[in-house]
Symmetry: C2
Subunit: 697 residues, 2 copies
């Protein structure tokens, strides 16, 4: 039995509620598309105005339908929608696409109407795509349940699913795909997403074995758990999800908010999630289609080494620049491979990587094929990019050569062909070779293939093995707002996080005794549920040594706090062992409205404040993820030491990140925020010297 | 009288030395191109084998020519070239394009042959384009002095000059331009550049009034002074120079070196030069053509405010993201403008920037025109980008609307049209509107227009007024290698650079006396022409206070240096006033092999070491340039203060940069390097507390 969502995307019968016989109207256009494209299932127009539409029996109402259609396409005005959805439920129709606008997107009354719609649909057991959508197209089955202009063109079917939050821009992207000869399997616009949203529908299409690549255009985020499910299925089934998400900048987010009426969501969080779960972010529509094309036709490389083959040294240099920018390697081939290639190419070529076979290869085209084959003998080369230009008279010859090459090599390769015609690209696609129109787009695509492959590697390392120990014996019961440093410290220790020796003291004598016990200089910090920024109220003294200094410091803190925060409740003063300063990190937990508990790591001080050099992931993270976070920091070189310092132990830091993330999971229902700042990291330790924990009120 | 280079690029007669009657050969192909394209001047084939070629009289040797041709195209084998160039000189031919390969690019013997060629050409008074070039095309005059495949196609003439160091990639780019309907005025490949190089030839074409935009493809740099002349003429005449230069990455530079045999040149220096002189760098061939197209058709915006007009909210968000990334503003329109637009557009559109006119505008297309006109009433909007998609049935309507709009507005605008056909783009070009095929490319082009406009503004501020005072009374005469801190300090003071009070002392008693005079803590630093890194040999003591400490420090330094650098000559110890620590900068001068004296400013410590956050310019810089350098630092926010610090006075820093750059000019013949590190900068001072100056040996 197909699920309700499967019925939505793979309907064997479609009822068009409010169908028109006037095919120039939007509610007629959907009829036209279904008929013209030859939808193979039943079509049930519903409209009391007609007996027949284009020879199809038209029903006066939903109750009269001969059977519950798999899908209802609802084209009636907003005010009638709720009744129609009720009727669908009554009839046993489980899924509906809702063209009608006049809901949340107009605010006020529309929002109220949408709330009613949601409640009705839930009660009626009808899953909704929309409202305010241009509809759903399943190109495999010619189910054009849409009024999108895209319906007017030829149906080029392919293994790419495209799910878009925008109707207008979505149509433009789908049309662009068609113009580039890239076939879609699905093109679905989700509209207001009152029920089903992008990741849920994408997930359903990903399960279709005819689909190999998912592309999404996204403006706002909700349902983080659906995004996670989608990404996990994508990794498990080696089918990438490529996302163009707008609202990267603050100005863009504002524009998005005013446009969609929904919060754009923290782009940084989505970006961290993408890195963690191997979602590929595309800059724009062309970039997304380039990547989809490449994923559709190329296998995954087993490493980041790119072999570049050109007949123009300059193009090779340009591609090398781009490859390095994107974190790929362009390794010099091993001696054996270089001499093998030198035997093939002309003497004025180059067997170094980039390989320059020179334009002479047209005389002896096997040179190109054999150079690729030999280059792939190098274990450090994992993917190839072959650059060509013009050669309009030699397309068939080159296609033949590439076909032979494809047959002979196991590693993936792409072709960058400057000035290639549409026809050339189609010919190459027909032999299973991805051909893009320039060196940079091809390198961008190679980088995306590497990125997904690496994410798969991180993912397939057994999760439980790399996850931290589960923390069970912790709770924030009884806490509300700022958690005392002492209690928070206890939780950190339980989670395995190193913190300095510390003791909450109620008198200066107790503080002196604690310091004696620690046998080190100490810091004194005011402990109050009402004070978040202790330094600002004079509540911190550092590096105190000896009874006199400690007693004096204790008194000074109390009087400063009394003066600066007269109403604060005082629990005492925390005496803390001083730790030798080292490189500073910040590690934090936050609750994201879409994705739940997230963890952030960054370099301390100005790096976080000014450069915003942070890496974000969803909790929990594995040790592999934690290392990946550190690698992702722009200034991670600081951890390797500089002239003035010896660097830090990444393994210790990564373990702390894992432990903190597990603490986040253990406390996720009650923890609002945890901020370890600074964490001192050195070659032999990683220790959080100050921390702030906030529980839900 | 045309100059020799003018004769080269605008020949009224061309002699083809070694011409063949076989048009399939390269030396025949050039004849074919000249004849087929209808070169209007005289063509003189020279080859003793023929009497006639295609009806043209063929001469047996150069001496027999009826007059000195403006240009000789030399197609003979390498070993005959020198004799031919001599003959050209004898005949009075002043310019030659040299197809022949077998020179520097093959190394060894070829290099020697090229040296002979250079000497011969100089003596003979013949300017050379090449050798190893595919030739020169002047599309205005149908002078196809080239064997490039580009010659086979139709000649689309336009106001863009394209100068390329690469023949193969150059041909691909020129063909791409043609395929996009972008006309070239010149397409010239410079080959080995034994005489004329890219900037010199670009300069000559820039002086052609038919040229409005220069595009260059560059692999290696030489003749910095020619690049400066080119950039200055470009700014003065408002004709931009757009450069795709490969070799940005270290790996790319290595590849370029192995490809061209010439050093790629420090890309960072070229980048700094480009920012200073308004050269526009393009990432790749498509980006370069996008920008050329935009500059050809758009006026320059008078500020960085972009108005975005769409019928898709999402596209507007995406473009806003990109605009912000590139440093543009997307300002909210003022109230008056917003209400004017609100009166025009449908209620479900948006009058905020991005403006969403919605797809409804097709019913009433003036909505689009009037929205643009009204938006431009806002003084903070300087350039418009209008986004469209598909609309294949409405191209003529929209072209009409844009024509009206263009007529009505003074500010520049571009159209981003997703899925536009070539024909549509041509129609738009015909009415003077630049149409690119996506939001991101259009925003990228808008950013380049703004960038050039801003560079022009910086340039037109009277240079002398903003330049520092000229420094004349300084010299490094008698210095060789490391200049003593004391002497270097004197030079800095003469240049107006603040440094701490200091005195070179030969005894501890003198040091104590100096400290007393300064009335502050002091630093002691060993002074030796043989010691560059003073700290490494124990040659520095900081924050000494009182005679005992100073005496002790003095002795310790001497014994440490005696132990660690026993052979170093010791001039004494520099006693220096301690200055309060502040934000640290590094300011340096270096000598670049291409561009001469350059100045570098960066944030100190790890910022320079790990993030390489530096700005580079050629000396001298103006005060405006100096501020621009500070703005260009990725972490310049640190200068504005952070939670822990009050920030720094940018004007003081900028003045120091200007002064140092003037010192660089004054000492440019003898200075190898100057390194002020660190410079302490705060709200009321900028002072260099340590410096290293190195003179030529």
């Amino acid at each position: 039995m197909p699920t309700d969502i499967e019925k939505l995307i793979q309907p064997s019968s479609i009822a068009v509620i409010g169908a028109s016989a006037d095919f120039n109207k939007l509610n007629g256009r959907v009829m036209k598309f279904l008929i013209d494209h030859g939808f193979s299932g039943e079509i049930y127009p519903v409209n009391p105005k007609y007996d027949l539409i284009e020879g199809l029996k038209c029903y006066s109402n939903i109750d009269d339908l001969p059977k519950p259609a798999d899908l209802a396409v609802i084209t009636v005005p907003a005010h009638s929608v709720v009744k129609v959805v009720e009727a669908c439920g009554r009839k046993g129709i489980k899924a509906a696409v809702l063209f009608s606008s006049g809901f949340k997107e107009i605010g006020g009354k529309g929002e109220a109407l949408e709330a009613t719609l949601v409640a009705t649909a839930k009660k009626a057991g009808v899953r909704i795509c929309g409202p305010n959508t241009i509809g759903l197209i399943n190109c495999f089955d010619n189910a054009f349940a849409s009024f999108s202009q895209y319906g007017y063109g030829e149906n080029i079917v392919g293994s790419i699913s495209f799910i878009s939050q925008s109707g207008a821009f979505g149509t433009a992207i789908a049309a662009l795909a068609r113009a580039r000869g890239i076939g879609l399997g699905y093109f679905i616009s989700t509209g207001n997403e009152c029920d089903l949203s992008v990741p849920e529908i994408a997930y359903a299409t990903l399960k279709d074995p005819r689909i190999n690549v998912i592309t999404c255009y996204v403006e706002g985020l909700k349902h983080g758990e659906n995004w996670i499910s989608l990404a996990e299925l994508a990794l498990a089934s080696s089918k990438p999800v490529i996302v163009t998400k707008v609202g990267r900048s603050a100005a863009g987010k504002r524009a998005a908010a005013s446009h969609t009426g929904s919060l754009a969501g923290a782009d940084e969080v989505f970006d961290g999630f993408s890195k963690q779960y191997g979602l590929i972010r595309a800059r724009n529509e062309e970039h997304m289609l380039d990547l989809a094309d490449a994923f559709m036709l190329c296998g995954l490389p087993e490493g980041p080494g790119v072999g570049i083959i050109t007949q123009s040294g300059g193009a090779g240099v340009m591609m090398t620049d781009r490859a390095v920018e994107l974190g790929l390697n362009v390794p010099k081939p091993c001696r054996k491979v270089m001499s093998a290639i030198n035997e093939i190419i002309p003497s004025f070529g180059s067997a170094n990587n980039p390989i320059d076979v020179t334009a002479q290869f047209l005389m002896n085209p096997e040179v190109l094929r054999d150079s690729i084959i030999r280059l792939f003998d190098d274990p450090d080369i994992h993917i190839g990019v072959v650059w060509l230009q013009l050669m309009h008279d030699h397309v068939d010859l080159l296609t033949k050569i590439f076909k032979q090459t494809k047959f002979r090599v196991k590693k993936p390769f792409l072709v960058a062909w400057v000035g290639a015609s549409e026809e050339t690209i189609q010919k190459m696609r027909a032999i299973g070779v991805c051909c893009l129109r320039g060196g940079d787009p091809a390198i961008d695509a190679a980088a995306a293939l590497v990125q997904f492959s690496e994410a798969k590697c991180r993912y397939t390392v057994p999760f439980t093995k790399n996850r931290g120990r589960k923390i069970t014996s912790v709770s924030l019961m009884g806490h509300s707002g700022i958690v005392s440093s002492n209690d928070a410290g206890d939780l950190l220790v339980k989670a395995g996080v190193s913190i300095p020796k510390h003791k909450l003291c109620k008198s200066s004598a107790a503080a002196v005794a604690a310091a004696k016990l620690f046998g080190s200089d100490v810091a004194l910090k005011i402990e109050s549920p009402d004070i978040q920024h202790k330094t600002d109220v004079g509540g911190v003294k550092l590096a105190l040594n000896g009874s006199d200094a400690i007693e004096e410091g204790y008194a000074e803190i109390l009087s400063a706090v009394a003066a600066n925060a007269p109403n604060a409740r005082i629990d005492g003063i925390l005496v803390e062992e001083m730790v030798e300063p080292a490189t500073e990190l910040v590690i934090g937990l936050k609750r994201d409205p879409t994705f739940g508990c997230i963890i952030m790591v960054g370099l301390g001080g100005i790096f976080v404040e000014i450069i915003r050099d942070v890496a974000i992931r969803l909790c929990p993270v594995t040790i592999v993820d934690a290392h990946h976070m550190l690698d992702n920091l722009k200034c991670s070189g600081i951890l390797d030491g500089t002239r003035g310092s010896r660097g830090a132990n990444r393994e210790l830091i990564a373990r702390m990140i894992v432990d903190v993330s597990e603490l986040g999971i253990a406390l996720k229902d009650s923890l609002v925020e945890l901020d370890l700042n600074p964490v001192f990291v050195s070659v032999n330790s990683a220790i959080a010297v100050d921390w702030l924990m906030v529980a839900e009120k």
